[in-house]
């Protein structure tokens, strides 16, 4: 069965960049609080999940979410990210490791490290500084030269 995406990509065509909208699994979640039938609760991974047996399709959760992370698509049912029961599929398929799944404290440390490495988060949703881009390109060229040298010795 195919499943609808729990991540919405909003594109900013003028700078050819995109913003991803998905559930942040808030500490104190508005969706959980407003649900009149208590259909939203936290599972063992800390994800807010919807119990469709209880859900009456009133859309209150979608109106309450400040990030627009809940959408209504099929048969008037709300859908949102449920962390795929601890094994998020988006993490598995992302080709550039742009999405990672890790413990909260570790994530905070990693973000700190990325900032220290020269990634400045600004107008373009992760704009890299010229020095950082140059360094990355230099590393790529270095690796390429290594491969070229190695492939010269290889006979097919």
């Amino acid at each position: 069965m195919t499943s609808l995406s729990r991540i919405t990509i909003l594109t900013k065509p003028e700078v050819q960049t995109s913003v991803q909208v998905y559930c942040l699994q808030c500490r104190d979640a508005a969706c959980e609080r407003v649900c009149p039938v208590d259909a939203i609760s936290r599972d063992r991974n800390g994800a807010y999940v919807i119990n469709y047996d209880r859900c009456i399709g009133c859309r209150e959760c979608a109106y309450a979410c400040p990030f627009g992370a809940i959408s209504f698509e099929v048969e008037a049912r709300p859908i949102k990210c449920d962390l795929c029961d601890g094994e998020p599929e988006c993490v598995a398929v992302c080709p550039h490791d742009a999405i990672v799944y890790m413990e909260e404290k570790k994530a905070a440390r990693e973000l700190k490290k990325a900032k220290a490495a020269g990634v400045a988060y600004g107008l373009y949703g992760g704009k890299e500084t010229p020095e950082y881009s140059r360094k990355k390109a230099e590393e790529a060229v270095e690796y390429l030269m290594e491969l070229v040298e190695k492939s010269g010795e290889l006979d097919v």
Partner: protein, 644 residues
């Protein structure tokens, strides 16, 4: 599996601009099996609809946009839009493909191909939203750059809209104007002028229907394997997704000063190295369904503009080819070419040719009217690009494009014109890659071209990326270019035809590995046959796939035969100084031997280079033989002007 009478593919949309009429036609299973999609559908449509020699800028010319069999699916890198027409640059088949999201959107709207004929009286654009197709007034759009056009259409129809169209160069009938998709993706040199001649500014499309494979579980299973392969690949992760085609600057010897000196990695001038270009990068972007992200997004501080996709070709053609080494100037020129909608390669080569002719004294000072034409003058070159797009003054002549431009100055000028069938691609010695490279330029059905068969007959890139796969392909029977250059080229041409027809990207990492889906696991065309069967619900064998590519290629050859292509047009050019040497003569002799062998193995007549009747009948396209058999066609000499 029984063959359905109608596959799970959409319809063909035929737009007659003269009568403002729109017709939809269902695609039959038989057509999918025989021509696959994309370039296959386009080449067949052109052969059937353009019976003889016509002026490419006349209303009779046909513009075909085909989106490829797998467009809009999760199979990676399959959203290329193939654009085909009778080229105003060369006067033979002119086709090319562009990335972006247009082809996926077109598929989502329920179409496999759009064919445009006729000429509108006033500027028009076409708006497609699923089943609704409207021809609308575009007078407000006429004159806008490609970026402005896309913004205008997004304001009108919403941000999801995907746009293929032209900039001012196409409107002004610059003969190497291109079709631009979603601002930055350029395809098919010359096709832009055809849009202009038809008074068609753009096609905007929104599709909401989605694509459903015949056997989703099987198809998506195979597609995921292919995605995973590229995601795991070290070359892709550490080089390709970081610097994109800029890796070619290190690996492919960009030309310096119109190919007098190819540059090695060590000789690459400061300013044009991947790390210099990276300083202007503010992000990366990709086409629909691509895990590679080869395109950079760059920022130009001097003008405050953003551009996308500075590629190897643009950097060498506009930069090193003309001795321009100022990083920002090269990026700016590339961005201008995108905004005006011009092919960077023909643009860069034509400017370089003008510089050379000026240096040799063939262009007099009177001819060029106050322009210095000094090698490496970046500021002047920026001015030239603008004047060419608007065909101002002397630069009206430059806008005629490469060979047509040289032709204006007679035989002396043509001697420095390194084209095949009117299309530029620089000059190379035949010895380079055992003759495959020059042979592939000569046999390409759209004129000199590196993407018609060359790269995939040549293992240098494949070796960097995955040596084990190369060994596997050789074991599976792929000819080795060192022992059998002609066989390797024919396989390369099949791979490219296949990629263009499926909508698969073939230019990105320049390797067999990504041009043919699943080739890394099921060499050579077996994986493609499996995917086609799962997707269309029609049973495909490896032989069906090979036959389809040959059918497409020979139909294209026959199309060119009717435009006057003879065997002599399979030649390659050397500069006059080199052509006089014994070395060059020996190389040319070898080239013609290879051409003879190629024609023989392709099933063509070795004397005339026409496809033979029995070959065509063997591929079940006897009707093509009826069209060219026993007929005389006037010899080709560039595009026809006025009535034939």
């Amino acid at each position: 599996m029984s063959t359905p009478s109608r596959p799970n593919t959409g319809s063909v949309l035929i737009i007659d601009l003269t009568r403002e009429k729109v017709v939809k036609r269902k695609v039959l299973s038989e057509t999918v099996k025989r021509y696959l999609g994309g370039r296959g559908f386009n080449s067949k449509a052109l052969f059937d609809m353009i019976p003889g020699r016509i002026d490419p800028l006349s209303p009779e010319n046909v513009l075909a946009l085909g989106n490829g069999t797998f467009a809009g699916t999760a199979l990676p890198m399959t959203s290329r839009l193939h654009i085909s027409t009778l080229s105003p640059l060369s006067g033979i088949l002119g086709d090319g493909n562009a990335g972006g999201e247009f082809s996926a959107m077109l598929k989502f709207a329920g179409y496999e191909q759009v064919i445009v004929t006729g000429r509108a009286e006033k500027p028009k654009y076409v708006f497609i939203e699923d089943d609704e197709v409207e021809i609308r007034d575009a007078e407000e759009l006429w004159g806008l750059t490609t970026g402005e056009t896309v913004d205008w259409l997004r304001d009108e129809h919403g941000d999801e809209v995907s746009v293929a169209g032209i900039g001012p160069a196409g409107e002004n009938l610059v003969r190497f104007a291109t079709t631009m998709v979603d601002k930055y993706h350029s395809g098919a040199r010359g096709s832009g002028a055809v849009w202009g001649s038809k008074n068609l500014k753009a096609i905007a499309v929104i599709g909401t229907k989605g694509v459903e494979p015949a056997d989703p579980e099987r198809f998506y299973g195979l597609a995921k394997e292919d995605i995973d392969y590229f995601n795991r690949n070290e070359f892709v992760r550490r080089i390709y997704s970081v610097i994109g085609t800029h890796y070619g600057l290190i690996q492919w010897y960009p030309s310096w000063r119109y190919f007098q000196v190819p540059l090695s990695a060590e000789e690459l001038p400061i300013g044009l190295r991947p790390q210099d270009l990276a300083e202007y990068e503010v992000g990366r972007t990709q086409c629909f369904s691509c895990p590679l992200a080869c395109k950079d997004v760059y920022y130009l501080p001097s003008t405050g503009e953003y551009g996308t996709a500075s590629e190897f070709e643009s950097i060498y053609a506009l930069g090193s080819n003309n001795c321009v080494t100022d990083t920002e100037a090269v990026l700016r020129m590339e961005h201008m070419a995108d905004e005006y909608g011009m092919d960077v390669m023909t643009l860069g080569d034509t400017i370089a040719l003008a510089r050379l002719l000026h240096e040799k004294g063939i262009l007099s000072r009177g001819d060029v009217k106050g322009v210095s034409l000094e090698w490496g003058d970046a500021e002047e070159q920026i001015e030239l690009i603008e004047m060419t797009a608007y065909r101002k003054g002397f630069w009206d002549k430059l806008a005629e494009g490469y060979r047509n431009f040289a032709k204006l100055y007679g035989e002396d000028a043509l001697a420095y014109c390194y084209d095949v069938k009117g299309v530029n691609r620089g000059w190379y010695e035949v010895d380079f890659i055992n003759g495959v490279f020059t042979l592939s330029h000569a046999t390409s059905t759209r004129g000199a071209d590196h993407l018609r068969g060359r790269s995939w007959a040549y293992w240098e890139n494949d070796k960097l990326i995955d040596i084990e796969v190369v060994r596997g392909m050789l074991e599976a029977g792929l000819p080795d270019y060192r022992k059998d250059p002609v066989g390797a080229l024919i396989y390369g041409e099949r791979a490219c035809t296949l990629a263009d027809s499926l909508g698969r990207c073939k230019g990105s990492i320049n390797s067999w590995l990504q041009a043919v889906p699943l080739v890394w696991k099921y060499p050579v065309f077996k994986g493609t046959a499996m995917l086609l069967t799962a997707f269309t619900g029609i049973e495909f064998t490896e032989k069906d796939v090979i036959d389809a590519t040959d059918r497409i290629y020979l139909t294209e050859m026959a199309f060119n035969v009717r435009q006057g292509i003879k065997k002599k047009h399979y030649d390659v050019k050397f500069p006059p100084e080199f052509a006089a040497t014994e070395r060059a003569k020996a190389q040319l002799k070898r080239h013609w031997e290879l051409v003879d062998e190629y024609l023989e193995r392709r099933g063509c007549d070795v004397e005339t280079a026409y496809p033979r009747r029995e070959t065509l009948e063997g591929l079940d396209i006897g009707y093509v033989a009826d069209q060219i058999g026993g007929k005389e066609f006037p010899e080709w000499d560039g595009p026809v002007r006025g009535v034939a």
